[in-house]
Symmetry: C2
Subunit: 459 residues, 2 copies
C-alpha cells in the first residue's frame, strides 16, 4: 500500500456517472407516503403536483440501482467536485490515537455544504421541464444558499422561506442568497395563509423548518408554473447525495482501504444518507460490515428518542404522511445552534435502515461537547466546521479515543458536510461560556408525540 | 492539446519544493530599507530585532534564486495546497468572449485567502527559533485569520491588532481568530504607547493598517521573546507567496498553455507579487512577454496616483523606511470595503518592477464597479469572491470584453485571492444601492504626500 496523501483527490472523469439508489437493494422497502386525505399511498400524479416530473419519478423508483446523472449535472458537479477525502493526520497526532481518521469534505464550494449536490439536480430537472420558478425553505441556510447558487446558474427565479430564528442569528446568510439572486422571506410570514395561521396560534414564534416547509409548499402550489423543492428527507435527495459515498469508496479503493466505522451527522438525513448508502449496500449484500453511526443533537433526538411512526413532514400538516423516526410535527425544537439538524423527522429510507439494523447506532450529543470537538478539529485541521458537521467530529474523536484504549488501528471515516463561516455567533457563545445544553424532558417529548396523526399502526 | 478540465489540480508531490526569489533575477535591486535614525541601510541585526533570524535572512537575500521550502512547511501546505487553477468556462459563456479565462483560487482553506502561504512559513521559523509568541496586525482579517490558524497548528501564542473599523464591520472575523486561539485587540487601542498617542491625536478614529502595524511592532519589541510578523509588503512575504505563481505555471504547462494577460489585485502586494513573480522572471529573461496588470481601489490609488519615494510602512513612523509607491503614511484611506487593499504603500519589489516597466499596467476601479463584477462572477462560477479579489475579476472581465471586440482568443489568468464570506455587509450595501464610490481629490492626496519623510531623493 503506497503512502496515503493528506488529500485523496479523484480526477474529474472519476466523478460518478450514476447515482446509487439504495432502495433497489433494500430487503424491505420503507412504507409508502400516504395521502392524508385518503390514507392511500401518494400517487405519482399527486407528487407531481408539488415536484417536477422527473423528480417525482425518482421519488418513487424502487428498482433502478444506478440512475444515470445527466451530462449537464455532471458539468455542474465539475465546478466543485470531486471533493477531497482528507486524512486527518494532524488530528490523529493531537489525539495520539492509532486510528486512521478520514473525512469527506463537502464544504469547498460557496454554498459551504453538500447541499449543492441535490440543488444542482433539482434545478436542472425543473429547468428541463420548463418550470417558471421554485420555492423552498431553509433552516440553517445551507440548503437555501445551495439552491440559490444553482438557480443563479440556471437563471431560475427562487423564493426562499427562511426560519425566522436562523435569519436573525445569521443575517449574512440572507445576503449570500440575495447575492445569488434569490428572494428571501422570514418564516412564519404573513405572505401565506398557513404562515398567518401559525402566527395567530404562536405569536412571537421563531419558526421552525416544519413551518417554513408548509409556507414554501403553499407558495409553490398557489403560483402558476412554480414547483417546490426540498433539501433533505426525500428519497430523491438521498439519491443525489449518493455521490458523496460513491466518491469516498472510490478514493479509498485507490489505497486499498475500507472503513471500519462510518459516521455522519443526522438531521433530515441528506448528508448521512449520501455518505453511508453505498456502504450500507455492502452490508445488505453481506460483502462488508462497517459499523455505521448517526449522530444527532440531544436537543432534537429524533432517532434516539423518537417514535417510528407515520407523520407529517411539516408543521402545517399539509404534506403527505411519511413513515419515519419522528418527534411529532408539533415538536418545536429548542434553538440549538445546529439549525440544520433541528427537524422533527428523519428520512424514511434511513429510518427504515436504522429500524432494520443496517445503521448500527444512533447517538446524541449536547452542543457544548459538539463545539469542544469543533474547536479541537479546527485548530488541528485548519477547517472551521459547521455545527452540524461537528456532531460527526464529536463521535469520530470519541471512537478514536476508544481505539487509543484498545490499541486498534481502526479506519474511521466521517462526513464533514460543511463549513461554519456563518455560525460564528454560535462559536462566540461557546467561547464566552454562555452556551447551554438543552435536553428535552420526557414530558416535553410526549407533547410532540401527542401531535402524531391518527394512522393505523401509529402507537 | 487535450481538452482543459474545469479545474487543473496538481498532485501533492507537485507542490513547489522551492520558493522563487525574484530579486536574484532583477536587473536592478530596489533601494534598501533605511534606518530612519541613521538614514543608513537597515542591517540584518536591526531587522532581526523585529523578525526572527531566518526571516531576516530571507528579507535581505538578493542572490538565491530558489530557496528550499523546509519539509514541515511543505507538509503544512499539503493541508490545503496545491490550489486549483480553474477555467472560468461559465463566465466565458456569460460574457460571450473568445478569451480563455483562468483563475487561481486561493480561498479553499478556512483562512479564506492566500495569506496562509506566508503565515505557515513565518510561524514555522519562529517556532524553530524558540520564539515565545507573535504579534501582528490585520485589516480585512485575512492575515490575522491565517496567522491564527498557523499559530494554532504550531501552538504559538498570538496577539492580533485588528483595525477598529474592520473589527466593527466584521465582528465574526474576530470570533474566527479566537476560535483558533488568538488574542484580538481593536486598534488603535490604549494598550500601547503609540495607540494612546494616535487616539489622543485622532479621537474617534476607525484606525488603519498603518496604525495597527505600529501597535503590533511596539507589542513585540516590548514583550520578552516575542517577534513581529507582517502579511504583506515585505520581500519575505512575496517570496513565500511565489508558490501561487509557480503552481499556475506548472498547471498551465500540463496543457501547453501560457498566459497572454495576468491580473492581480494590489494592496500591499502579497497576492499580486506571488502570482506574477515567476512570470516577471520570463519577461526579465526575455523568454516570454505576458501583459501584467495590477488593480487597486480608486479610493486608495497607491500605484496609479502615488509617489515613488521613501516612506514609513506604518502610521506611527517607527518602521524602517522603504522605497515604494506610496500615498504617504499620513494618508488615511476611506473605509472602502476592500480592507485588504486599504494601505498607503506597496511592496518595494513590486514598486521597483512597476517603475522599471516589468509590470505593464496599474489601474484602479471604483467599488460599485468591483461589486458588479463580483456578483456576476459569483452567479456564474459559484464562488463568492472577497472584495479584494473582485478587483482582479473586474479587470479580467474588462479585458475579456476587449477580446470580444477584437475577436482575440487571449489567455487571461487572474488571481482569485480569497472568499468573501465575512464581507456580506459590503454585499448588502451594494445590493441595497447604498454603496458609494469615493475617489480622493488631488488636495486630499497632497496631504498624504506632505507626510512623506525628508529623505534625499524624495520629491
Amino acid at each position: 500500500m503506497s503512502s496515503i496523501p493528506y488529500k485523496i483527490y479523484l480526477e474529474e472523469n472519476e466523478i460518478p456517472k450514476t447515482w446509487y439508489n439504495i432502495r433497489a437493494n433494500m430487503p424491505q422497502q420503507h412504507a409508502p407516503m400516504l395521502n392524508p386525505g385518503t390514507m392511500k399511498p401518494a400517487t405519482k400524479e399527486e407528487i407531481s403536483a408539488i415536484f417536477c416530473e422527473e423528480l417525482a419519478r425518482q421519488e418513487l423508483d424502487e428498482t433502478t440501482e444506478n440512475i444515470p446523472i445527466p451530462e449537464p449535472i455532471r458539468d455542474f458537479y465539475k465546478m466543485y467536485r470531486p471533493s477531497p477525502l482528507v486524512r486527518a493526520y494532524c488530528l490523529e497526532q493531537e489525539l495520539k490515537t492509532p486510528a486512521k481518521i478520514f473525512y469527506k469534505f463537502e464544504g469547498s464550494n460557496t454554498s459551504g455544504s453538500h447541499k449543492l449536490n441535490s440543488a444542482a439536480a433539482q434545478v436542472y430537472y425543473a429547468k428541463e421541464q420548463g418550470v417558471k420558478g421554485l420555492a423552498t425553505e431553509t433552516g440553517a441556510g445551507q440548503w437555501g444558499t445551495a439552491l440559490s447558487m444553482a438557480c443563479a446558474f440556471y437563471q431560475m427565479p427562487l423564493y426562499v422561506f427562511m426560519v425566522k430564528n436562523s435569519a436573525e442569528q445569521k443575517p449574512y446568510r440572507k445576503a449570500v442568497m440575495e447575492t445569488f439572486g434569490a428572494n428571501v422571506t422570514k418564516s412564519p410570514s404573513d405572505t401565506t395563509e398557513i404562515g398567518r395561521k401559525i402566527l395567530l396560534e404562536n405569536p412571537g414564534t421563531g419558526g421552525s423548518l416544519g413551518c417554513a416547509i408548509s409556507e414554501a409548499i403553499e407558495f409553490a402550489v398557489t403560483h402558476e408554473g412554480y414547483k417546490y423543492t426540498l433539501g433533505s428527507v426525500l428519497d430523491q435527495v438521498l439519491l443525489h447525495q449518493s455521490v458523496i459515498g460513491l466518491e469516498v469508496k472510490k478514493a479509498m479503493e485507490k489505497y486499498s482501504l475500507y472503513p471500519d466505522i462510518i459516521i455522519g451527522c443526522a438531521g433530515g438525513g441528506s448528508n448521512l444518507g449520501g455518505l453511508v448508502s453505498p456502504f450500507v449496500r455492502d452490508k445488505i449484500k453481506k460483502e462488508k460490515n462497517p459499523y455505521i453511526i448517526a449522530v444527532e443533537p440531544a436537543s432534537c433526538p429524533t432517532m434516539t428518542r423518537g417514535r417510528y411512526a407515520y407523520d407529517f413532514c411539516d408543521t402545517g400538516r399539509i404534506t403527505p404522511l411519511a413513515k419515519m423516526y419522528t418527534l411529532g410535527s408539533g415538536f418545536m425544537p429548542a434553538p440549538n445552534h445546529a439549525g440544520g439538524l433541528r427537524y422533527h423527522g428523519m428520512s424514511p429510507i434511513l429510518s427504515k435502515l436504522y429500524h432494520d439494523g443496517f445503521i448500527d447506532e444512533a447517538r446524541s450529543a449536547v452542543q457544548t461537547d459538539v463545539f469542544e470537538a469543533a474547536v479541537k478539529f479546527a485548530r488541528c485541521e485548519g477547517i472551521l466546521p459547521a455545527p452540524e458537521s461537528a456532531h460527526a467530529i464529536r463521535a469520530a474523536i470519541d471512537e478514536s479515543e476508544k481505539c487509543k484504549q484498545t490499541g486498534e488501528e481502526k479506519i474511521i471515516v466521517f462526513g464533514l458536510s460543511g463549513t461554519g463561516y456563518f455560525d460564528m455567533a454560535a462559536y462566540e457563545s461557546y467561547h464566552s461560556g454562555k452556551m447551554t445544553d438543552y435536553v428535552p424532558t420526557d414530558e416535553e417529548l410526549q407533547k410532540g408525540f401527542d401531535s402524531l396523526p391518527k394512522v393505523p399502526g401509529n402507537a
